[in-house]
Amino acid sequence: MNTAGSPTLSINVFPVEKIRKDFPILALKLKGHSLIYFDNASTTQKPKVVIDAVKKYYEEENANIHRGVHHLSAAVTLAYEKARGTIGKFINAGKEEEVIITKGTTESINLVASSFGKKFISAGDEIIVSEMEHHSNILPWQLLCEEKGAVLKVIPINEKGELILDSYKKLIGPRTKLIAVTHVSNTLGTINPVKEMIAIARGAGEIAVLIDGAQAAPHLQVDVQDLDCDFYCFSSHKLYGPSGVGVLYGKEKWLNAMPPYQAGGGTIKKVTFAKTIYADLPLKFEAGTPPIEGGIGLGVAIRYLEGIGISRIATCEQELLNYATAKLQKIEGLRIIGTSSTKASVLSFVIEGLHPLDIGTILDQVGIAVRTGHHCTQPLMEHFGIPGTVRASFSFYNTFEEIDKLEEGLKKAVRMLS
């Protein structure tokens, strides 16, 4: 049922009640309230098909991959490689070998910083990041710069929380070797014009561009060939899949030229004490036994999302974001942080005179899960002069009624805390 004034369009075209039944956790009652989960940018809930796939793996399929000659090992290797194919198609990778399965976005970025850095970064070279990056897309580059004597440059943002492209263009110089920028800001929701930014970099020489897609893959259709990015990273757990697994897409020309990140089982063709020959892509970058059930589960999650349709998901989430933005900005003293006209369904805000942690604590009492704090983007908080924000991030399984309850919860928090 819609409350008065709630839009009905999506309810008619988007079977949200049916979809919610796919997610067992959404039926949970906490402290007498139905769970309202608005912390999707931290991690998403898992559909039953994913949970079942992981369970089935352990009950019926468990074996190590790429090794054994026995039936189970062969079958599960096929399943794992099928998942790689699904992931590759999902982001339109040119070749399956360009899809490296990692532990998550953080490891994907660290892999590039370490391996690309070892080979291609020297003293005096420049790496460009942006002011809105998650710490995971700052710290690996900072460490690399310290180690190599390279220079980290930062693209500034404007008051709406958008990258200033003129400044970006000026930062690119003859020593720029790599640009690492987020596709969607985890704190502000801003969708950055990465395609345009990559095109600008292409005009300036041989510069590698890495896109942190952790917050984009769940909301947008990603096409790495259309973007022409050199690297693209994302995590399974933010994409309705199991945790502990993620993806690094890399152009073959770079991945072939880069040294192994970690060495170990599965990464080699031939080992002798004199010289080791490493395996071809993607195994060269996948040392040790991977998160097998995680990879398979991610494949299932992607197929589930494709079954609903990525563009339908994007439309639904935009409607939720617009509805929440309109409602929340009417609350007295509430200020939205991140007001770009192109945003994914991430809504960060502060309320004058109230600490985000207090607001989050009151919302928790009425069963609403939001994230509070600096969201691992301390430089961004410094830019806006705030200690943190309250962040509500929406998924296609959220409803307008839940946003109405968020509004009520916030009004209650203001009443109690003021």
Binding site: L354, H355, D358, Q365, T372, M416
Partner: protein, 138 residues
């Protein structure tokens, strides 16, 4: 009053609210809003206990064989809890403080606030209070 007696007193105060969270939190918020708990001159960087999200300031003094605490926080609910903890531990001997189990927080239904994920600095504050007691005792 002993630490245990103060804990019992607080548990009694919170029993009035039963399972009703609003009254309990309103009481905490009122505690948080009541008088500043710490002399502003002690709100310095070296007295700051950093939680991931809220800050806590703690000042410890040793007088006549007892440890006295004052503290503050930038988040009001944290400040209310800080006030309760100070009320329980302040004015006791170092040995009494070191032995305090602080079970009242669980008994008044606010154990969640001591979970490491709350990131409010309370666990670190209690630890620091005990460390200060130990150091001042020497």
């Amino acid at each position: 009053m002993s630490i245990e007696e103060i804990e019992k007193e607080i548990i009694g105060e919170f029993e009035l609210f039963g399972d009703e969270w609003e009254g309990k939190y309103e009481h905490l918020i009122d505690l948080g809003k009541s008088l500043p708990l710490i002399d502003p001159k002690h709100k310095t960087e070296d007295k700051t206990i950093k939680g991931c999200q809220s800050k806590v300031w703690l000042h410890s003094e040793f007088r006549e064989g007892k440890v006295f605490y004052t503290a503050d926080s930038d988040a009001i609910i944290t400040k209310g809890l800080v006030g309760l903890i100070v009320r329980v531990l302040s004015g006791h001997t170092a040995d009494e403080i070191l032995e305090a189990k602080m079970e009242f927080i669980d008994k008044i239904g606010l154990k969640d606030h001591l979970s490491p994920t709350r990131a409010n600095g309370l666990i670190s504050m209690i630890k620091q209070m005990k460390l200060d007691a130990l150091a001042l005792k020497k």
